[in-house]
């Protein structure tokens, strides 16, 4: 997914002279092909994220489309004011390519785990937040990025993520993709968690619990119409994300259901707890640790369905 996103920057640069790449201090050899072909549009600016984001804003003000690339935590936490003021307040078409969204950098510890990035990015007016699920979907998404008029936060997976997307699903920013028709439940997820959720649905189906799956690759703007339509057809909604439960996809789903007076049915939100992680190992290991492997998700959903207050009971009323 990561390699595909960068290769796509080069591909886009070939046909659109507005496209520039700005890295802070990426790995040696990053996008050498683009550097060779378009040296004037290839920038490595050093470990200075606040400056890099401000510089990208200045370029965009003059009509360029900068693709800014570094590690997700540095591109969100480190330069949040520049993202808010320089990119979002000016509403500029800068693309933030964030390496290692979620738990990708598990061995490197909590300074490198981007687990609240979706929350703080989606809190900003004008920002679009996209979490592609695999390399193929990344390619289809990147094709659309030159014409989107707002800043975009792009959350990357580790690379080599299992391919679950299909060409016929297409891709449109802001349009959810239904991966599996709803049964009694609907599981809403994003990014690489689609793979784990699909694994969970197989386990659940074997246990007689049929769950639909919808992929909100665009967490903001959320495809509210798709959510409301799908939610109306199920007994309960489950959200699954590789992100803190504060402010991520689960929050966006509940916000929408509540605001649209559709919170009349139970919602189970699965994600990361509100604490820093002090375990290392691997992304897969941490996902399992937090109950976000296919087995963990299936077990949580099974427990949820078994709760008398969950699926069997009539929906609670939303009072306004």
């Amino acid at each position: 997914m990561r390699k595909t996103s960068l290769d796509m920057v080069h591909a886009l640069a070939k046909r659109d002279p507005r496209v520039v790449y700005i890295g802070s201090d990426p790995g040696s050899g990053t996008l050498d092909s683009m550097k060779k072909e378009f040296p004037q549009r290839f920038f490595i600016e050093g470990i200075s994220e606040a400056h890099v984001v401000g510089m990208s804003a200045g370029m965009a003000m003059e009509g360029l489309i900068p693709y800014v690339n570094t590690i997700a935590t540095f591109l969100t936490r480190r330069c949040y004011e520049q993202v808010a003021v320089d990119l979002c307040l000016h509403d500029l078409p800068v693309r933030l390519i964030a390496n290692g969204g979620g738990l990708v950098y598990a061995p490197l510890g909590p300074t490198h785990l981007a687990v609240e990035d979706i929350a703080i990015m989606r809190a900003l007016p004008n920002m679009t937040v996209v979490c592609p699920t695999d390399a193929d979907e990344m390619r289809r998404f990147m094709e659309q990025t030159t014409e989107w008029p707002h800043p975009i936060y792009i959350r990357l997976g580790k690379g080599g993520d299992p391919i679950t997307s299909r060409a016929e699903e297409g891709f449109e920013i802001g349009k959810a993709i239904l991966k599996r028709e709803p049964g009694r439940l609907l599981i809403a997820t994003t990014g690489i968690m689609v793979h784990h959720v699909l694994g969970a649905t197989k386990l659940l189906a074997a246990a007689g619990i049929h769950c639909g799956v919808v992929h909100f690759h665009t967490v903001k703007p959320l495809d509210e119409e798709a959510l409301l339509d799908l939610a109306s057809r199920v007994d309960a909604v489950v959200t699954v994300e590789e992100h803190t439960l504060i402010g991520g996809l689960g929050s966006a789903v509940v916000d929408c259901l509540s605001d649209r007076l559709a919170l009349g049915k139970p919602v189970l939100r699965l994600g990361l707890p509100d604490r820093f992680t002090h375990n290392y190992g691997s992304q897969e290991g941490l996902l399992k640790h937090y109950g976000l492997s296919a087995e963990g998700i299936a077990a949580a959903v099974s427990r949820f369905v078994a709760r008398p207050s969950a699926v069997q009971q009539p929906p609670s009323l939303v009072r306004v």
Binding site: Q40, R41, F43, E45, G46, S48, A50, H51, V52, V53, G54, M55, S56, A57, G58, M59, A60, M61, E62, G63, L64, P66, E81, Q82, V85, D86, L89, H90
Partner: protein
Amino acid sequence: MTSAGILAETGSPPLDARSKALRSTVVEAIVAAGRGHLGPAMSLIEIMRTLYDHVLRVRPEEPLWPERDRCILSKGHGCLALYAILADKGFFPLETLATFCGHDSILGGHPEFGIVPGVEASTGALGHGLSIGIGRALALRMRGSKARIFVVLGDGELNEGSVWEAAMAASKHKLDSLTAVVDYNKFQSYGPTSEVLELEPLADKWRSFGFAVSEADGHDVSDLRRALEKVPYRAGRPSVLICHTVKGKGVPDAESNADWHHKNKLTANELTTIRSVLGGG
């Protein structure tokens, strides 16, 4: 080259009628709004005046003329000085100043791009303008434009690390179309810059970051004009002009008085004195 010490001994030339009139515009806007940064605007008057009267290639009737020079007021809290000169030049009517900070005004307490004609970046959070200016300068160079970039920085703003990240980048890219202008009034909100966070040796700092450096009396229009009309100071290098100024310049009680940084309630006596000194009201 003029040092701060020499300036303190010799002083700047007396303010002329235009400098007083621009200050009156600022004061009356603060009176109308009941708020505003008086000191930080007053130290900027001659800098902004010189830029817009003699240096910048701009078209007030066409604020987004592609070949214009871009002037970014990075110390956005000095916006009243920018608003006063933009109105004077005809970017928007002078009467707009009377709406300063009003609910529906285009003129907020910090300037906004896309809302105020002539404003080149939304600033107010410090340490952003130089990087934006660098991005614009790089993009303009890529398309072969001769347009230049001027970024006006406050001295307190130089506390921000992002300014120095940007300074390294400007030098790396050999951006001689870029000029930083520092309003060195020696005061920030809490007190003297020398006490809050020492900036000296300031000229040497910029030199060591790869800038060609000049200094000027920031209240002497002829000195500013001399310094600003000859940028870049060296081919292939970004320029910085360190302007030695007096915070609150032209308002006797406010000069070099940190208490007037956010001053927004002027007493009747203070206002009478100010109007008398500036010849307005």
